[in-house]
Symmetry: C2
Subunit: 236 residues, 2 copies
DNA sequence: TTTATTTATTTGTGATCACATTTACTGTTA
DNA sequence: TAACAGTAAATGTGATCACAAATAAATAAA
């Protein structure tokens, strides 16, 4: 009954207090972020509904929302799929991240107080723990948590949704990236960022964030890995 | 039967080739962009469906999509509304526009050829025409068209959706801004941008775009106008 | 074996319905 | 007059159904 590849989506317990649509949304979002849905794979409402054991209605709404966030792509008039990646698009997404997140960090800096700094230090420690254990999934999750915590220090911040959209688009690739992470960069620039925060040095903070992002993908910039990924993702 | 203020949405002919949901989406999007829906006004699916003379289903989907683009806000668990504006949020949106659009312009620069430059010049002339006629609505539309044309010169560009999200959030305020536009800035920085394009000077282009955006809102930065707007928009 | 054409199946869209929750209204009490 | 409780109306969520368009499958022709 399955069309191409069998989709394996991680299912979590559905919280009764949350609407089915919301649960479906976050489930599918995680699936995209973890690269569980191959780029180019055609998704149908009914198929996903069957997998998630819900009616087609919540799936419909979740898919439309994910498409609006650029996590999914609506082809022509009908089918929906995870967008394919290209080397150029990857590069653009990476540069967009650097620009937007540097901006968000600088704008958050004036709002960072002692409490917030303590939170950031704790989150950075969590990342180190995950790195020691080699838990690749957790490294990504906690890394995002650190960045999110930093940017949301600014109570009037408006860029986080845009940043998360970029994370979502890079998600399927980050998964691949992480699988090579252990052998390469296990150190991040978070300490550097925290130092800049202490000194209230916006420029230094921006540089630290930019480096953190760039180095996280630096090895992906090697031609052979990029080619690998594009071949896997871009080929029909 | 109407709850608070009667909503007056501009209705356009529905193209038969387009789905009802898409038509509803763009209709509501324009309504938000033109400030036809007051911030804070509670929207209900059935009310909008009645106004647009469609079934609730397409409205449901369109609302969710607009919410995902940050054009609308889902309150608590239920109602949806146009988000209220604050002075700080306005400032953040403006700065985010400058950062993102400068970035998009610089990234587009290498791809601008003779054809594209001709397009930009033509679009800039259209803006001048609209300004001569004093057609405020068209000025906004054509201004966006110019910026969009510039950024999409980059075929791998990924930031336009994010930029459009910012435009949407500023939309209700731009309408108010435009009503004062005639007395203030009728000149833009587009010529400056075109010059920078000719010289392939990325930094100059970024400066021109940043100035164009900033000056477009400069008068809005005057305390009394900002206060006016916030009072109108933020008060329950 | 390959290509074209017809048939069968699947799919997205949109409509309608049921229900639990929320909101609005009404009459009553301090 | 203001605050409250109880009732009535309205609302979002989710399910199911109908249908036209699109895709896949099957058959026929080269």
């Amino acid at each position: 009954m399955d069309k191409k590849s069998p989709i394996q989506i991680t299912l979590t317990k559905r919280d009764e207090a949350v609407t089915i649509t919301q649960w479906v949304y976050s489930t599918l979002r995680n699936a995209v972020m973890n690269g569980q849905i191959l780029p180019g794979r055609a998704l149908t409402i009914r198929e996903l509904a069957a997998i998630l054991d819900v009616s087609p209605m919540p799936v419909r709404e979740a898919l439309r929302q994910l498409a609006a966030e650029n996590a999914l792509e609506i082809q022509g008039n009908r089918r929906v799929m995870v967008p394919k990646m290209t080397a150029m698009k990857f590069s653009e997404l990476c540069e967009a991240r650097i620009t937007l997140e540097s901006h968000a960090a600088a704008r958050a800096l004036p709002y960072i107080d002692k409490d917030k700094r303590a939170q950031l230090i704790a989150l950075d420690k969590d990342i180190d723990d995950a790195q020691d254990k080699g838990d690749l999934e957790q490294i990504t999750v906690r890394n995002q948590r650190f960045h999110r915590c930093l940017y949301t220090a600014n109570p009037h911040q408006v860029t986080l949704p845009l940043i998360e959209s970029l994370w979502l688009q890079l998600g399927p690739f980050m998964k691949l990236a992480n699988s090579r992470l252990k052998e390469h960069y296990t150190i991040d620039r978070h300490n550097e960022a925290l130092e800049a925060i202490n000194k209230k040095d916006a420029l230094a903070l921006q540089m630290a964030i930019a480096s953190d992002i760039r180095e996280g993908f630096a090895f992906a910039g090697t031609p052979e890995l990029l080619y690998n990924f594009i071949e896997q993702s871009g080929a029909e």
